[in-house]
Symmetry: C2
Subunit: 352 residues, 2 copies
């Protein structure tokens, strides 16, 4: 059921702005519509009509790019005068860039004209604008960014991944609660296991912030707290949710992705080294493609802003069109599931 889902896409942000966003959006729509056509049921064809994308950004620039594509009634443009750059100080953006593609896209969600927003822009600015325009749920001070990391037997949500670089113990407690709700809803686990990221499993380890957070989280009756986790536990089926400061989480995410990339490229290089290996590669790589793709960080582009009263998905700033599509797809699925509403009603139970 996806009646009436519209996604507002910040078309100007990210390293390559509309050059990446526009082809990604067309490719995504085409995939969605061909899926519907292949299903060939009246419901499915109705479904495709109800999905729309609003490109938010400089009208002239976007129109020029759209000219090279066939006309598509599902795509429209909303003009925004300015763009948030990667160097913009978030607090300045809040004061002076309310006419940016990022802010206007968020306003479309706030006003109900769109059900989700996708942006690959400046994370700090997105966090401040998201919080001020959409608002957070009662009991949540600051939104957190999260992603499901692949793990043996399930997947683990890690938060925060970079929205908050100096999280207090109270914020870590709120992240734990939001993460638990998200895991419950999306993984279907009744009592998700929550752990706190640390440098070792022993209770005496870690810094002041982590020890304080541990005692707060431990006291909360709403949480199934299982203790400290280490970096490597993210990829084992150790916890459903791992909570950490945004600085630490961001480094964990990017290091893990970096390690995965060097491994994948090492394997690809291996198949180039001799004619025998090239031959093996021809046999192997098509088979191995699915496994490698599952483990390729580019396949999993798109992080969730949790705690906001609306769907907001952050794409990598350097995403290519293929990987930007993933972020749009994530936003689509969140909006379809009405995730913010579900989280809000779960939070009410937990926080009361």
């Amino acid at each position: 059921m996806s009646v009436g889902i519209t996604i507002a896409v910040d078309a100007m942000s990210g390293d390559d702005g509309p050059q990446v966003v526009v082809p990604a959006v067309f490719a995504y729509l085409e995939k969605l519509q061909s899926n519907d056509a292949s299903q060939a049921s009246p419901a499915a064809s109705c479904q495709s009509k109800a999905f729309n994308i609003i490109l938010v950004g400089k009208q002239v620039e976007l129109e020029a790019l759209l000219h090279s594509y066939p006309e598509n009634p599902s795509i429209s443009i909303v003009h925004a005068e300015t763009v948030v750059s990667m160097d913009d100080r978030p607090s300045r953006v809040l004061r002076s860039k309310q006419d940016s593609s990022m802010a206007v896209a968020l306003q479309l969600v706030k006003s109900g004209q769109a059900q989700a927003c996708v942006s690959s822009g400046n994370t700090g600015a997105l966090m401040l604008l998201g919080r001020s325009i959409l608002g957070t749920f009662p009991g949540i001070d600051r939104p957190a960014i999260t992603k499901m990391f692949p793990s043996q037997g399930g997947g683990c949500f890690v938060l925060d991944l970079g929205a908050n670089v100096d999280s207090s113990a109270e914020h870590l407690l709120q992240f734990a609660i939001m993460g638990q709700v998200l895991a419950k809803i999306t993984k279907g686990v009744e009592n998700p296991r929550v752990a706190l990221l640390n440098v070792g499993g022993e209770s005496i380890k870690g810094n002041e912030q982590v020890r304080l957070a541990a005692s707060l989280i431990e006291e909360s009756e709403a949480l199934n707290y299982i203790g400290f986790a280490e970096g490597g536990d993210i990829f084992r089926s150790y916890a459903d949710v791992i909570v950490c400061d945004g600085f630490v989480g961001n480094v964990a995410l990017k290091s893990a992705e970096g390690a995965a990339k060097i491994l994948l490229s090492g394997i690809k290089d291996f198949f180039k080294e001799s004619w025998y290996r090239k031959l093996l590669g021809r046999l192997m790589l098509p088979l191995l493609a699915k496994t490698l793709k599952q483990l390729d960080p580019d396949t999993h582009n798109g992080a969730i802003f949790l705690g906001l009263q609306g769907v907001l998905v952050k794409s990598h700033g350097h995403a290519n069109a293929k990987s930007f599509e993933q972020a749009v797809d994530l936003a689509y699925k969140e909006a379809e599931a009405n995730l913010p509403e579900l989280i809000n009603s779960e939070l009410e139970k937990v926080l009361l």
Copy 2:
């Protein structure tokens, strides 16, 4: 040239203590001695005589284990009454466990009876004991743990990896200087590039600690500071040294290892799924073994304590015998190169 190198091995620490350490030490000696024998030169055979290992720990327990091996004159035991456990509070260890295998092994380095110490014990305790027994170099407050991460085109030293969980900006500056010296010596780079780990490349990003450290490091004329690095830059040929707080570095290391492990096991599982894949696996895996091994975290066990007046190598607590061997080998190479002396003389140039 390895005349007269003796390594003091803390035989009781780590998850499996002497059950892992003793077989590892025998396997390492055997490899070293068979290398010498195959070279069959008088110098080489002399070399094997000059390499010794002192197992430090409970005499009775170690003797019992040694009984199942052929007598080896290169191995001796030094008794230590107690063991530092993973739960021991480091400050308590400093006061009351000077008779532990960890402390006694370090004393052997201090007194000159050994040229290096290897332990897989409690990192915090090892850091405090190492600092108090061996001492740090002038100008260095706290030792840092580092490791070379594999990267496309060179390898990158990241520090600190967990010795200091609340590093000040001044400590990060010292880590930068030590890292630069290490990279210069071991990588043979004249002017190693030093970067500071952050959540983004822009100067406005990050927390207070990182911004303070950036301005300190920028001011230092001795350093070739190239700016901020992100987690993924560890694995690109972006910098020779990346500096960070020990909490963050530890999480980066373990997350990257976790990601590599899940990828490697994904690939191994792939070759088990059908008879055709099993057949391909038979052709492929022996060829691929070298590539996979290079990228397998277990191959790179052993981290360097930098800034101490002596060689100290930390092994993973859960290392198996094969990977404990790697840590012993690293200690051997550092002692052979006389790394602490080289670092000291470079530090004198930089700090004066």
